[in-house]
Symmetry: C2
Subunit: 217 residues, 2 copies
């Protein structure tokens, strides 16, 4: 049985991991025979957004504790993750990837990535283990692996695509129900809710991504 890390960034599209993308990933991994290992950094969220109004609140929430909602409590602090124990890594989307795992949402191409997130991605890439990144999270890959010129998709958003190219990545336009594969770097990406429009379309792309990542693992 393959062990696949799932890197979460909170719980909710506007300030954490996109919940649908995360659950669809966990379900597809298990249905394809993989064991999942959820992980997140033990840091405060960049901010908390009321998902009813879309407005930030004064609250403080912890990325690891909120991610534990999606993982039903079974989650590791990423600093304890040994990539030698993993066969592949999946990074669901949601603004958490661009606000908590990195600050791409604020700084664009000049983004910094959380050091433990950086470590895990680099160790996986160095070991030639596949990484699947969903929605906005390919931007994190593009930043961390900038020297390797990773080919990724986030759909067709021009500003985001330009930032990815500026970081050293190579962006490819892709439909929500499809995936883009960087064979050399073993990266699989899909636009998901960067394009939407609905959960079943998003699921189609993610299910292809999970199968491809497991094939490559």
């Amino acid at each position: 049985m393959k062990n696949v890390g799932v890197l979460l960034s909170g719980c909710g599209v506007y300030d954490g991991s996109e919940i649908h993308e995360s659950v669809i990933s966990l379900l597809a991994l298990e249905r394809n025979g993989a064991n999942t290992v959820c992980m997140a950094p033990d840091i405060n969220q960049h901010h908390v957004v009321n998902h009813l109004t879309g407005q930030p609140t004064e609250e403080k929430r912890n990325v690891l504790a909120e991610s534990a909602r999606i993982a039903r409590g079974e989650i590791m602090d990423i600093k304890h993750v040994r990539t030698a124990d993993l066969d592949a890594l999946i990074i669901p989307g949601g603004f958490g990837a661009a606000k908590n795992l990195s600050d791409f949402a604020i700084k664009g191409k000049d983004a910094e990535v959380h050091p433990e997130v950086r470590r895990v991605i680099i160790e996986m890439a160095d070991a030639k283990k596949p990484i699947g990144a969903i929605c906005i999270s390919p931007a994190v890959l593009a930043k961390v692996l900038e020297d390797r010129h990773p080919q990724v998709t986030i759909g067709n958003d021009l500003g985001t695509a330009e930032a990815i190219d500026a970081m050293g990545g190579r962006h490819t336009v892709c439909e929500v129900t499809s995936i883009h594969v960087d064979i050399e770097n073993k990266l699989v990406t899909t636009p998901a809710y960067m394009l939407g429009p609905t959960i079943s379309k998003v699921a189609e792309g993610i299910e292809k991504l999970i199968k491809k990542v497991l094939d490559m693992a």
Copy 2:
């Protein structure tokens, strides 16, 4: 296209809606051709539980705003829901059903149910529209519909089953991958994470439940 209400109770298994059950329901509804209408009551949660430690915290969170995380912001205050607009209703599980929609987790058979939740369930039942209830939420149905002696399952937990019977329901033991159907009352129930053990088993039962509910709608 059938309109199906999805009644949420927060966002997280220990103090709100069980996230996997909710997302699997939304996905199965769309894949089976239904339009979904998410709803929740605009009240404070009974409490907030840190899902990493399992311990309650001092925080206050609102059921509607937290449910909006699962619904990606597209959610109605249940008090504005007109059941004439719905063809069926789904109630995912999680402790939120037993702490926020009702106080079954605290009072057992003497539970009270939020008046708008009660209204929606009774109006759906009176109109002979099907209701699917997952995990612990069949206990809410058993309380609201006690005079109609609803047949439900929550798996095989003896204490919960006894409380359901004491409220006027009739509990039936059921496997996680199966559903129980009360033809007379048009209720479909599945144990989900009351039994677990894993997301793909839970999904198998929920997918059967959604298909059955839509068949009956």
